[in-house]
């Protein structure tokens, strides 16, 4: 019961702020609504008993990525883009098609809801954080290593692109 309430609360919050995010004229507002969405998602993670992810989500996204965004938004002068049309020429057809896509996929989920029943989820999730750590430094050590390269690349890239002259 509580589960349901939590879920629906966060879900509605997430969707609503997402919609606002893509519709706001002011980018800063958009960023803020994105943050809201992400926080709502984090809530859903919590509701799914993924505490570790809940934390990661908040720290990384809200704390990291969004800061980055705001920086950039500040760098590219705002007022210029404020009084412009925020949507491009193809907005209607694009929106329509996106909804078509949604209809397709959601419809698919609907028809196949039977084939993904309650599943074995009776088992209660293991001690989350510990299990995640185990996995991350056990089976998933290799991706972890690669991820370090990935971040290195991202760093170099950001530096190369961001600096005026290297």
């Amino acid at each position: 019961m509580l589960n349901a309430v939590l879920f629906y609360f966060f879900a509605v919050l997430a969707v609503a702020s997402a919609i606002l995010m893509v519709t706001r004229r002011n980018i800063i507002h958009g960023a803020v609504f994105l943050i809201t969405t992400l926080l709502a998602t984090a809530g859903i993670f919590l509701q799914l008993q993924a505490e570790f992810l809940f934390v990661v989500q908040i720290i990384l996204y809200v704390g990291g990525i969004m800061v980055l965004f705001v920086f950039v938004i500040m760098l590219v002068d705002l007022d210029l883009s404020l009084h412009l049309v925020q949507f491009n020429r193809q907005r209607f057809v694009a929106g329509a098609l996106a909804l078509v896509l949604a209809a397709q996929v959601l419809g698919a989920f609907w028809v196949s809801r039977s084939s993904i029943g309650p599943g074995p989820a009776a088992v209660v999730a293991p001690q989350n954080t510990e299990a995640v750590g185990q996995a991350l430094f056990g089976r998933y050590m290799l991706p972890f290593e690669i991820a370090s390269i990935l971040l290195l690349v991202a760093m170099i890239g950001a530096v190369v692109m961001g600096k005026r002259r290297i």
């Binding site: 196949s112 290799l142 991706p143 690669i146 990935l150 690349v153 890239g157």
Partner: protein
């Protein structure tokens, strides 16, 4: 952390030695780069080349193995070795071509080479990954490296624009791909490809969830290999990026994405092969059509080659189409064709771009068809090589491209895709038409500026190597075919 796990890790880590080497040298470049004066930056290329060499050497160590490592998250098999070798070769070639080019561009930086090496790491993990996570991370590593590289000429507006388009679309498509991956995980509860394959095999026929996964994953992969209708980034990025990187993207990243595609579709989606063969066929046909028609009126060589490489993708995909018989059984020839095609594609496609690269000089970008005019007088060697590469792209004997196309057609015939076969051969004609516009410019037209392009030793070496490869694989393809067969059929021969 039980010690026995650790020891297993230790032994396993031998199998990622090639990647490790690259990482090592990549970091080395980043470090040494600080100590190099701006006119000595080209030494970085040497480091990078050494890195590739060492990686290749350690790759030989693991060659011939056929096992999994890191808890079944990567497989060390001929397929991996084969493709890694391709990536390394391509990287080496591009490094050789880059030195002088970046010199002229005035963008001679350590980061450039480091990123290439890191990108290569991502590709190699794409080739060996047997786990969604590994594949995803590897793919992103490669992608990010390429985003940056394609935008490396920061002062060039085209380069910026290409890079921005690339990164936006790339991120978008990888989002779609990731969504597909998440569904795959949802279907199986595991990120291991084999488990997923079994899970999918157990799904009811024509299961919508599987289809959603299939569609989204396919969309992501098609984007990476630039197949119609997911191709549109390619011409713009190819034209904008530094030509060396254009060559790199069009060969290395494409080959890597094909490796990913093969892994996924030959393991995970193999149970539903009859459902995707048609899809592949249509996409391939579309790629050929759009590529061919669009290429005809291009005046920019890089853009033309971009469209032509879209056409090439069509041919390669036809190989995949030709590897599934009407009754759903595997037709080995199709896979051979694909592997061989990818192998020789490295030679002639890089080669074609290489000639454009050597035409670059101060003040002249050299990527207009008119810049080729009279090349036969100005630099016969380059003209002849370009001829060889273009013939190979068009599939005229005695070049590698002919054998490759021959195998593809043959596979199609064997699997009774007659219409597709006719289509495939029909599109040779427009191909010849637009390739020979370049040939005509080089051989027949008179030069507008009689400047003879200077070619550095490294570039000469690279060009020569690719030409020899193209001809050798065209006249005596036996060994190449054997190699392709061995490396693709060992894991997927069934």
């Amino acid at each position: 952390m039980d010690p026995q796990l650790l020891s297993r890790m230790a032994t396993d880590s031998l199998f990622i030695l090639p990647e490790a080497m690259l990482a090592l040298f990549g970091l080395a470049i980043l470090l040494t780069d600080f100590f190099l004066a701006s006119n000595q930056k080209s030494w970085n290329s040497l480091t990078a080349f050494l890195g590739v060499a060492f990686s290749a050497g350690s790759l030989l160590e693991v060659a011939g193995q056929n096992r999994t490592a890191f808890g079944n998250s990567i497989v060390i098999d001929p397929f991996f070795v084969f493709f890694s070798a391709l990536f390394l070769a391509s990287t080496a070639l591009v490094i050789l071509l880059s030195v002088r080019y970046m010199e002229i561009e005035g963008e001679q930086h350590g980061e450039y080479y480091a990123l290439m090496l890191f990108g290569t790491i991502g590709m190699m993990f794409l080739a060996c990954g047997n786990d969604l996570v590994v594949l995803f991370v590897g793919l992103e590593t490669m992608a990010l490296a390429f985003y940056v590289l394609s935008g490396f000429l920061r002062r060039d507006r085209r380069s910026n624009e290409g890079a921005l388009k690339y990164v936006l679309m790339g991120a978008f498509s990888s989002g779609i791909l990731a969504y597909g991956f998440s569904i795959l995980y949802g279907l199986s509860g595991s990120t291991n490809l084999n488990d997923i394959a079994n899970a999918i095999a157990r799904r009811p026929a024509h299961d919508p969830l599987t289809f959603i996964a299939l569609a989204t994953v396919a969309a992501g992969v098609f984007f990476k290999i630039a197949a119609v209708p997911f191709h549109q980034w390619a011409p713009d990025v190819y034209q904008g990026a530094p030509t060396t990187i254009t060559a790199y993207v069009s060969v290395a990243s494409k080959t890597a994405s094909f490796a990913l595609l093969l892994r996924l579709f030959l393991t995970v989606f193999w149970p539903v092969r009859v459902d995707w063969v048609m899809l592949m066929g249509v996409v391939a046909a579309l790629s050929m059509t759009v590529g061919a028609f669009a290429a005809i009126t291009q005046t920019n060589v890089k853009r033309l080659l971009a469209y032509s490489s879209i056409t090439q993708v069509g041919y390669i995909l036809f190989g995949l189409v030709g590897s599934v018989n009407k009754d759903g059984s595997l037709n080995k020839l199709g896979l051979e064709a694909m592997a061989f095609y990818l192998l020789v594609y490295l030679f002639f496609n890089t080669g074609a771009f290489a000639v454009v690269i050597v035409l670059r000089r101060k003040g002249v970008i050299g990527d207009n068809i008119d810049d080729l005019n009279g090349l036969m007088q100005r630099n016969p060697g380059a003209a002849v090589l370009m001829l060889i590469f273009l013939l190979s792209l068009a599939g005229i004997p005695p070049t590698a491209g002919f054998v490759a196309k021959l195998l593809v057609f043959w596979a199609l015939i064997q699997t009774q895709h007659y219409v597709l076969a006719v289509l495939a051969v029909a599109y040779i004609l427009p191909a010849v038409y637009y390739y020979f516009r370049l040939v005509a410019a080089m051989w027949v037209r008179e030069a507008v500026d009689p400047v003879r392009p200077a070619i550095s030793v490294a570039q000469k070496f690279a060009l020569g190597a690719m030409a020899i490869g193209t001809l050798a694989a065209g006249i005596f393809p036996e060994q190449f075919v054997r190699l392709a067969v061995y490396s693709i059929l060992t894991p997927f021969g069934r």
